[in-house]
């Protein structure tokens, strides 16, 4: 392997490490929920050895019988991304359901509040003549 190729791998590894650091920082600042943060960190951590030991990909490709090694990375990346997208759809459905229920509850509570206020008003005006004084 030429030295420029080696340099490429080093750059990749550094970029990955920076990405991991960034994710950890976001989680620390609570900008990213830890469950997603950890997921991405795990992905990054899994990629680091690949960047450091590129020979592993060649070896794995030979094992599975793939001629063009990058295909292995591409395929696993696509697989992972599809799984993630599915997970997000699931999460999104759940969130929509929750915000929906919340909106319905808010509406019901508001109607209940209106009802109570009008009852209170009529009660107060029954109790004494004229508008009730505010306390």
């Amino acid at each position: 392997m030429t030295s420029t190729a080696h340099l490429l791998w080093v750059v990749l590894a550094v970029v990955l490490l920076i990405a991991i650091a960034l994710i950890l920082m976001l989680v620390r600042r609570r900008n990213l929920r830890s469950k997603y943060g950890l997921l991405w960190v795990a992905v990054g951590v899994a990629l680091v050895p690949l960047a450091v030991f590129p020979g592993f990909v060649d070896w794995a490709a030979r094992k599975v019988g793939v001629y063009y090694q990058p295909t292995v990375i591409m395929l696993s990346a696509i697989g992972l991304l599809i799984l993630l997208a599915m997970h997000y759809s699931w999460e999104l459905s759940r969130l929509e359901e929750r915000s929906r229920t919340l909106a319905e509850e808010v509406a019901l509570l508001r109607a209940e509040g209106d009802e109570m206020r009008s009852r209170l008003d009529s009660l107060e005006s029954d109790g004494q003549d004229g508008p009730p004084g505010r306390v």
Binding site: R100, A107, A111, E112
Partner: protein, 262 residues
């Protein structure tokens, strides 16, 4: 029972009429007035589905209870809200009624009759009505025919008006739909399949409907086609997905006395 605390609601009737309304300010007053004269014995609630017009004000002025959703949830969401209101206020049945004057208030009695005879979900069918034949466009009637056929295959029963929005609900049905009512467009067919598959008693009743007073069918063309396909798939895969909770299941919600901490 989930009657909860004795509600402080102003319930004065056994049947609640739920009117889901989205930008219905124009037709709503006459619909409510008509309901009031035909059936003065019923309570009415308008669920204002995030309207941008004066629907809420108009309904309040008519003197009915108004529940305003903070943003538009669609018909399913508005109905679900109405169902939960009915349960919490202690009504023994509820009727879904259109705000645009499409439904005939005298036909509510037919729905109530079916509910009292043991139905959980009474569906008002415009096609079973003897007089005043209801006309629908050809595309629409073709789509309706396909839905009808599919519903027959899935339920083993013949329903003539699967998309009708003129329906009556028993208390168990209200409790079930309060959380499980489908919320996407064309939810009425989905709800029918869901209720039937869950073991509820679904019946069809002949009612009167007139042509829409204002506004047209909300959706057409590609969007309708998309929703149609969606409903077909959902109907097939969700058949029997949910079961009607048995009386025994209610015990599960009772507090379990195992909070012994030491």
């Amino acid at each position: 029972m989930t009657s909860g605390s004795p509600t402080s609601s102003g319930r004065t009737a056994d049947t609640l009429v739920i009117i889901p309304a989205y930008n219905e300010a124009e037709a709503l007053p006459s619909t409510i007035a008509d309901l009031r004269t035909t059936r003065p014995d019923l309570d009415i609630v308008v669920v204002n589905d995030g309207s941008s017009d004066s629907t809420a004000a108009v309904a309040k002025a008519a003197g009915v209870v108004v529940i305003t959703l903070p943003y538009n949830l669609g018909l399913g969401g508005a109905l679900r809200t109405g169902f939960r209101y009915a349960i919490r206020s202690g009504y023994s049945r509820a009727v879904q009624f259109d705000g645009d004057g499409q439904h005939d208030a005298t036909s509510i009695a037919a729905l109530e009759g079916a509910l009292d005879a043991g139905a959980d979900l009474a569906i008002g069918s415009r096609f079973r009505a003897v007089e005043g034949g209801y006309q629908v466009g050809s595309t629409r009637s073709g789509a309706m025919g396909l839905l009808r056929w599919l519903v027959r295959i899935l339920t083993g029963e013949k329903f003539t008006d699967t998309t009708s929005g003129f329906r009556g609900f028993s208390v168990p049905m209200l409790q079930f739909f309060g959380t499980h009512y489908p919320v996407e467009y064309m939810e009425s067919v989905e709800a029918l399949i869901l209720a039937h598959g869950a073991g509820f008693d679904v019946r069809e009743v002949a009612v009167q409907m007139s042509e829409r007073e204002t506004g047209a069918a909300s959706t057409r063309g590609l969007r309708l086609a998309y929703h149609f396909c969606r409903v077909l798939v959902v109907m097939v895969i969700s058949k029997g997905a949910l079961r009607r909770p048995d009386a025994g299941d209610a015990a599960a919600s009772e507090p379990v006395a195992n909070e012994v901490e030491s």
